[in-house]
Symmetry: C2
Subunit: 348 residues, 2 copies
């Protein structure tokens, strides 16, 4: 008896079937710059016209253990939105326009329907971000993942005119720190969230929690917001008055806001300036989780921070609101001197 | 007692420590186009000068279950070369110059030394490919991977002048098919290879096999060749006489060569034109694995195929040899009419 690749756990036909479905899903995400007629091994994308010194901006990320919630609930068509969001929001922070996206989907035994659902979410995320799903890899890795599980990685590339790169260097004392609402946990802190909800509180993903307005699984799976349209609107309305953007991911506000602040500057944030979303309150009480740990693990309801010239704060908030985002003055920039990274964000 | 993120299995300090080591490893891969002074959330790279209509070329891939060999042997500093090779060789097939690379490294419990070894390999691969390691994501995902295991995904972006895109469209009947030697399995077919070696032959990774000239683990871990310098040399020597390039990955010669052939054309390959590397002979006998299964699973010693105008074949082989690659005439292009994809490659 001879041995085959299929017997060794790799089903090339299933992979091919998924690739055909992916092609259909990717098609509506095409932008004019994509060259579809060429290339069998790689994705090809021209640059948008009108840029005199284009700079490529790239980011990669995963969804973390938010995937475990998808496994537990069987809902696989939203984590792809998270994947695009995590990558694209990083690219957006330097003022770039997202151009294209590639995904890596790895599983132990390929389930074509699950794979298709995941990619459906990715394509939806790409549409929200205005970028093309231009390529990807589906890897069937026997023995690497538990049954029914998979991992996801995403890669986004955008482009920005060199003279328009937002690097935070112009941020100055007195600038307004604008908070832009998150939709919930986004894709960070899930290992702690699941530990609290499942172990400390004894809940399952299908349990309803009144404060959450639905099941635990629904609250946790809420897709990460993609701020592409919001940032386009913000830059159109405020131009150079926008001085820095920070994507609030792992590390929370103290771990991310300083990444865009010049040396010696910090920010004082008023966490009482907005209503902290219920999911964070449930987690904090349920742990309990100390406030400092909450702040450096979760976004606490702030998915993006825009640092703008003080006089432009109202205009910024209005532009963000018109694009569908809740935004408010979260704090202001101040001088902190030479203090450790995370201490540059003060609360209260 | 309150609950912390660390207790939930995520050690932010370990992640930060690894990031510092990665920065040191990435630095020597920098190319002049990388803008290092800006951007905290994303990687930034300008375009090389002198391109009138630049097209971005992107590819993503993983290393597959070759990782299992790294886990079994404890050798973690070569799979990164494989990761870069799998992505960059795809980008090279359209005639593009690789610019930058990003990696995604996911594990259950972060071991900083293992992570550093993996990234050391990635940085080595980037040096071989002439591209910059510009970003990456280290994900600690408790409960997603077995102890001591990890997954890797890579993402490469290159650039090509639009008029110089190699798309295979100019390939014609009578063109020479040049085989370029692989270094062994590269990064495909490992689930089958391990099944044969471990299950059918009862070998472990540390067993010595005379035909392999070393241990099973050493033979399997041989890094995938990166054909960046070779293709640069080939294009310099043969110019437009190079009509198509095919990276021989999963699917082998019949699965990959047709990806670059125009409709109606196929290729007749003479597998007796070269010495098949010992590792494939060991696997074929050890399974046994049928010849057809060998052909569609493994590269069988051919890592890259260049289709060149017949009169340029000698020049191509000489240029490839000078750049350090073994190359030979593997076959020729012929008309096959409207036959199924894999049947467009004939043997014998």
């Amino acid at each position: 008896m001879s041995v085959t690749y299929r017997e060794a756990g790799v089903d090339i036909d299933a992979g091919d079937a998924l690739v055909e479905r992916i092609k259909r899903l990717a098609k509506p995400t095409r932008i004019p710059e994509v060259l579809a007629d060429v290339g069998g091994f790689a994705g090809l994308c021209a640059l948008p016209g009108g840029l005199s010194e284009p700079v490529l901006v790239s980011g990669t990320d995963g969804v973390g253990t938010k995937l475990k919630v998808a496994f537990a609930t069987g809902v696989h068509d939203t984590v792809g939105i998270d994947l695009v969001a995590m990558c694209v929001n990083d690219v957006l922070t330097v003022g770039a326009r997202p151009l294209f996206f590639l995904d890596y989907f790895a599983t132990g035994k390929l389930d074509v329907d699950v794979g298709e659902a995941v990619v459906r979410g990715i394509a939806e995320g790409c549409k929200q971000a205005g970028c093309a799903l231009i390529g990807g890899e589906t890897a069937e890795l026997p023995g690497m993942y538990a049954d029914g599980e998979y991992d996801l990685a995403g890669f986004a590339v955008g482009v920005v005119e060199r003279s328009r790169i937002l690097d935070g260097k112009r941020i100055a004392v007195g600038d307004a720190v604008i908070g832009v609402a998150s939709s919930g946990l986004h894709s960070n802190g899930f290992s702690l969230a699941r530990r609290v909800l499942e172990k400390e509180m004894g809940l399952t993903m299908s349990d309803r929690v009144a404060d959450l307005g639905g099941t635990v699984g629904e609250a946790l799976l809420t897709p990460t917001r993609i701020y592409a349209r919001a940032i386009t609107a913000l830059l159109a309305a405020c131009g150079d008055a926008v001085r820095g953007l920070s994507h609030i991911t792992g590390g929370g506000l103290p771990g991310n806001l300083p990444r865009v602040l010049p040396d010696g500057l910090g920010a004082r944030l008023d966490l009482g300036s907005y209503q902290r979303p219920a999911v964070f309150q449930v987690l904090q009480r349920g742990g309990p989780v100390e406030e400092a740990e909450m702040r450096r693990t979760f976004n606490l309801g702030v998915g993006l921070v825009a640092v703008v010239e003080k006089g432009a704060a109202d205009r910024a908030i209005e532009a963000l609101a018109k694009s569908g985002e809740q935004a408010w003055v979260l704090g202001e920039v101040l001088s902190v001197g030479d203090v450790p990274f995370e201490e540059r964000v003060l609360f209260g």
